[in-house]
Amino acid sequence: MTAQDFWVLSPEIAMALLALVVISVDLVTRSMAKVSTVAFVGLVVPLILTLNLWNGWFGDPATGPALFDTFEADRFSLFFKFILLTVMAGTILASAKYIASDRMKDYGGEFVSLVLLSVTGMMILVSATELITIYVALELTALPVVALAAIHRSKQGVEAGTKFFVLSAISSALLLYGFAYIYGYTGSTNLHLIMERLAVLPTEPGVPFGSYAVLLSVIMIVAGFGFKMAVVPWQMWVPDVYQGAPTPVAAFLSVASKAAAFAVIMRIMYVAFGDANLMQDWSGLFAILAAVTMTLGNTLALSQSNIKRLLGYSTIAQAGYILVGLASVPANQVGATSAGAGPQSVLYYLAGYAFTNLAVFFAVIAITSRTNDDSIAGLNGLLKRSPLLAGLLVFGLLSLLGMPPTVGFMTKVVVFGAALNANLTWLVVIGVMNTVIAAYYYLRVIRAIVFEDAVDESQFSADKPILVAAGFAAIGAGVFGLAPFLMLDLAEKALSIVPAMITG
């Protein structure tokens, strides 16, 4: 490794070290408060290192590839690293009380360091530009989550962990299969080289992607990441795991895992399959997936009575909206607008969704940890029992619903706008219809909170750390909704670094 490699990898190295430090602190002290504090404060180091790479405080911002062209700290990856670090900080705050609880306090340090390691994996994942590195990073991402889901050793937790493990294994297998095909066809695992070689290889007319090998490979890759993105038809683990796993883990999964998966699929698609013809082919694939995912996610959410399961289905539906942005590729552009609208809208959607969903999940954690009831009926009369938490939750749900002027509305409008520009009017129609379906179940939860009468009228409030986390997430959602340009400008910068994304 050269000094350059260290420089490029510095945020990930800092994260891995932080995980080790946390576990050591856990050995020395038995105070979970200290563990949380160390982890939270320690996050400043990778954050500064990431900011440094973005701004170039100590040298050139465009650091170029590292580790023999397998890893790139471009602004696209750094954008996602900011999201991941934000989610990480929120998760630490949100689980501070949880890891100090009686049944968790023996594994508190492990809990935090496992989450840190998983995020380390995701940070590598969003930067990886080579298939083997992607695969290794993916495993580093998934395995800690298996342990996290089952950390209670309760029946539900173990079931959730096993389910997640088995399905991750299957998805990895599919992914490797896809990688093997593309390697066999092009003779390279490097995304840039794959693009170059695909351009010169002969194509069969009439076959999507120009050859059956590439077609199969793309389908396998999309299927493999489909699990992580929680896209129909690879979504069935989501509600079970969300319900069975500890809620902070579910919150973490619903945001971080999804963002990382979307980042890597975008990179693979735009860098390796970024040719205009190929782009139109996979755009169609994602458009169909988007339509199915939105519709099924929203329809299944209608009949849920458990808030965690409902949120599980809601995250599936949200993944569908993100896919709409992914399908809006530059190659299909109709208007005279610039090409980056589709990918830019995906980044904006993911960031807005991250803040919104964290606010919702954290509020749910804070509530259910007091009421010990995660049915929707358990939220009855919440407004009287805990006005602040109820306010946060209602705000978050309205944003997920897409009510103006929340960030949820802005991101949806931007994504649909990009889709209209990419000639996907039918998909926009389905998307708009879906938001109306979604309104029903989100409003049902809001009705329970605001109008129903509680059985138990006792007042309660949340713990400070999680309230701070939820509050910040909600403020983030509010700010990026009222001032979309703040996030859209960042997203635009994040695009311009990936060369394939501004051509076409």
Binding site: G335, A341, V414, V432
Partner: protein, 517 residues
Amino acid sequence: MFDGLLTITVFLPAAVGLLVAIFARGKNSDQQIRWISIGATVVTFVLTVMVFVGYDQDLAGVQMIDYLERWIPIDALRSSYLIGVDGLSAPLVLLTGILGMAAALGSWRIKKRLREYFMWLLLLQTSVLGVFVSLDLMLFFIFFEFELIPMFMLIAIWGSGRPRYSAMKFVLFTLAGGAFMLVGILAIYVTPGVNTLAMVSIPELGIVGVPELIAGADLVVPAALIFTFFFIAFAVKLPLWPVHSWLPDAHTDAPTAVSVMLAGVLLKMAGYGLLRISLGFFQETKGFTIHDVAGYMAVVAAVSVIYGGIITIRQTDMKRLIAYSSISHMGFVMLGVAAVGSSAVETSTAGLNGAALQMFTHGTITGLAFLMVGLSYDRTHTRHIPHLGGLWKKMPLIAIFFLIAGFGSLGLPALSGFVAEIMIFLGTFSVWPWATGVSAFGVVLAAGYTLWMVQRVFFGARPTSPGISDEVYDNLTDANWVDMVPVIALAAPIFIVGIWPSVITDMFDIGIQAVVR
């Protein structure tokens, strides 16, 4: 360019409402919340007066612009934070300032969940102000839709009767209308060569608005369809027959102050939209212009006026009666807009000016009427007209101001309603004589239902059981000074505009001239 005054005016109520909701705690917080919230609306009122007076009529055009070009800076949907006032919006901003203050004052006696109540009421005022000053379609849409949340909460939590049903009905009707509007907005935006959402052209900022850009352009979606999308949204909100049925329910079940806001300013968002968008955008569009449907608009307007009037006469609930009368009165707004079918510029602008003025006057008159019903109901605890009678002797002040609202509503000369209606009739009679003639009969109906109600409620014999028991009747009290402050605030503009209409009409005329090109 960032003037700042409008931004402050729009967001002041919301900011105060949210801060109060978060920070007002403790034993005496109720009284503090009342004073702070009312204070916020009074300050907002002063600001709206500054906006109205500060508008330079000689300069015309759009003024007091706050412009942040890169608000949604993505090519797929380039939208700016662009707010400003012109002759059309300035009087409506003032109206919102007046009614917001009256509604807050009229909420003095609210006790239930006070903190949230004022938060929603203030958020409502912000969203309505936002609609009137937005000059970017996306911004306009957001404010137009955002108003649903506060209204839903205000009706559902503080309402009476069947509040949740009415609140839901209100939301579903408006949401459906709004969805059509959003499709219309996107359809305009994706038209090649448009790529902007600015609602007006502002030469000094280099902004070319949608009306100019779509004039004569080949639209992706037929102009008639886009027009229909917008028209549905506004017809629901105005409301026009046959999509009016949410209005009586929402009004009847809403708390008094919310009815004041609903009738006073929320319905005007639709009238404003008709003038600014339906009229402003679709005069020179290819294949279809608003002139093609002006005749149908006149017919729908006449049906609304007469249907609303006849239904109103049959009502036995005072509040429901006034709610139905709104349908009739807002029909006149539609009728005025239909004057655009005239080939003579003088007549069509007379009708359009009348429509605009009718919005303003209806806001104050009906706001006052709802306020008086609320005051009467607070004392008698019934709104059922057959159960009431002879209230004149016990509460003369309430009766007098109720009578003023009634006279305004039936168009008595020297009150503002007369001026608006006469302008509308002058504008439309030469173009749509039949529709106008039929609509004029609506004024007769208005005289009928208003005077008949006043006669039954305030005059005649004292009520007998099961209406109001003797004991309750003997202890009835008249309005006190707390009640009278908002009443005066609403009654004053009725007289001022009635006697000196040009204070408002000159302003509207500037706006209408700019919209009609």
